[in-house]
Subunit: 407 residues, 2 copies
Amino acid sequence: MMPAQRLPGCRSLHVNEDNGRFVLLAILILVYLLCGAAIFSAIERPSELRARGRWNRTLHNFSEAFNVSLQELSSFLREYETAVAAGIRADSLRPRWDFTGAFYFVGTVVSTIGFGMTTPVTVAGKVFLIFYGLLGCAATILFFNLFLERIITLLAVVMKAFRLRRLRTSGLLPPGICQDFAASSLPGWKPSVYHVMLILGLSAIVISCCASAMYTPVEGWAYLDSLYFCFVTFSTIGFGDLVSSQSEAYDYQGLYRLANFLFILTGVCCIYSLFNVISIVIKQVLNWMLGKMSCLCCQRCNKANAFLGRRNAIRPGSRLRQGRFGRPPDAEGSDTEGRRLSGEMISMRDLTGSNKISLAIMQKQLSESANGYPRTVCGSSRHNGFSGGVGALGIMNNRLAETSDSR
Amino acid sequence: MMPAQRLPGCRSLHVNEDNGRFVLLAILILVYLLCGAAIFSAIERPSELRARGRWNRTLHNFSEAFNVSLQELSSFLREYETAVAAGIRADSLRPRWDFTGAFYFVGTVVSTIGFGMTTPVTVAGKVFLIFYGLLGCAATILFFNLFLERIITLLAVVMKAFRLRRLRTSGLLPPGICQDFAASSLPGWKPSVYHVMLILGLSAIVISCCASAMYTPVEGWAYLDSLYFCFVTFSTIGFGDLVSSQSEAYDYQGLYRLANFLFILTGVCCIYSLFNVISIVIKQVLNWMLGKMSCLCCQRCNKANAFLGRRNAIRPGSRLRQGRFGRPPDAEGSDTEGRRLSGEMISMRDLTGSNKISLAIMQKQLSESANGYPRTVCGSSRHNGFSGGVGALGIMNNRLAETSDSR
């Protein structure tokens, strides 16, 4: 949080690691976009040209068969496009703006899916949409985040129960110990980010497959098209090229609409959580890349920094060691974690240990636990108290094993 | 994190506040959706019926004028719809899948805008999209989150600088004090969530107005339509009824495409951040509502609980007081915050204070600062260490004044 201190040499490279991570990610995304554009262009371009040729033939055939000039045809088609924007198709569809249609519409607004099969055309509707969406989208983001929190909590409970039972059956827990204390200080109860990713990924696949199995017969899509629809919808991209529940009538219409709603709701929650968990892994990769870069630099300017770093005052040796190995020594790590996990009491081992060491080190450890993470830096940028993670990461930062260890 | 302990009486009402908040939010969103559906239906339904009538007249006129049967016309229109799905319109548009078109497409995928003006039609394209989107959307969510973090950091720096200068000019800072220490322990450097919301809201309005001023003449839309397009795009809803940069040629085409890209990028980042900040305020409202509900209950079952609460052991008096006033007493609050803010050292006042009080209270305070927030509960559900907030809230939880005070 200090203004960046420009010092000579390569120190300025790692003055602000957070900025570095941001820029690195922006560059990687740009490269990813360019690669994606090239690949999609290669895959889809021939099909676009074929479709264009086919349409031109159809247009000319129709024009000749019914003796309609191309100008008249195209003005007719322009009127049709206006009608399409109002929700009209050649085959009759469900009404757009009856109550259930409007409910589907607002659902796609607040979830930011935005299929676009229904859009407001009046001025009043457009203005209302802006204010309605502003509050609705914010509330839905909160809903997704609370869902994510509930999921992680549930997984943590289940995993802790498993681990406790394994410990108890293997006889590692002394029989006289307070059950509650053992539960709260057990160091392994944070679920791994990879486990959560695996479970969410499997759930997403199961939900998509079940939903596709429903859409394929009811909508008459190919199974792959249904899967594609599920991904596009659940990820809230929502192209609108395929939209479920649009025909005028279905068998068991009420049941189908309810199932459609529930599938989309669970799917969106699941994929949103999955994206956030994947983004933690991406952040770890970014940290690893930055660590590689800055530690290369560290080795070169280590001696120059030894007297510059104000914060090295207490125990420079241990900090340098941490920097080299990328994480604190085991004993210290579990110490801090135990204190953070117990929620109410620090362990007696911890307290008696603290009483033996000097005031200065205790003061340092206090500030570490107050910040919620041990200092594992080799540069100078992580002191600012702002490195507690971000976005949906922020919470999970203290909740998943990897994210609290690797920072 | 403990499995919910079912106790007799109304205690079970606030056994798990997190679940309560989740359910309450779900109910509120459902009500919001129903109201929205009713309002949109009322606004848009007449216009839909008019559009349908207009189109039917056009269809019959065309059919009679050129002696085309309605069946033939509608099969022609069905073929046109297939062509529309491949990106063809009556007026010629830019090619869909050349490199720049594909770049625009992947941009709408990873940002989850998903206009749908371009969609993959080949099987290979659809399969690739699923895997491409999975990684791309996760990376973009991380990008948005890091952007949000950078914005809050920037605001904190600016606000702290302002406050420091005001303190220095008013002579409240002793001249001999270490500048760096003063900066790091200043209690007011966390920006308020309302300030951040105000600044983000103003930025969003400025960006939208500037972007609309560009779109209106270039695309030939009404100014209000441009604003509507900006909101729909920046919020990543992306209906696709209006899409920028789709004509075959513009004056200054390269410049326009670049400006379009930059406007969408900044707008999406800004509105995403705004949504997250608004969702914090919504969460505060939910907490307030839950607090009202559970404290009504508290008063009735207070005496019954007095001997049930295991965690009341250390200082039940102060905890009850906190519960009634909704926040800790001032001295203790600034104490904990000062320790959390300093990042490296706790203030000497703090340390000497700690040495005077009993070991038990110190142990309690240690665990509080380890959790990063003081316990301000009147129920029993906030001990679990899982109440550090969620989603993009999680980070901001420790970074914005309201979120760290009110929990």
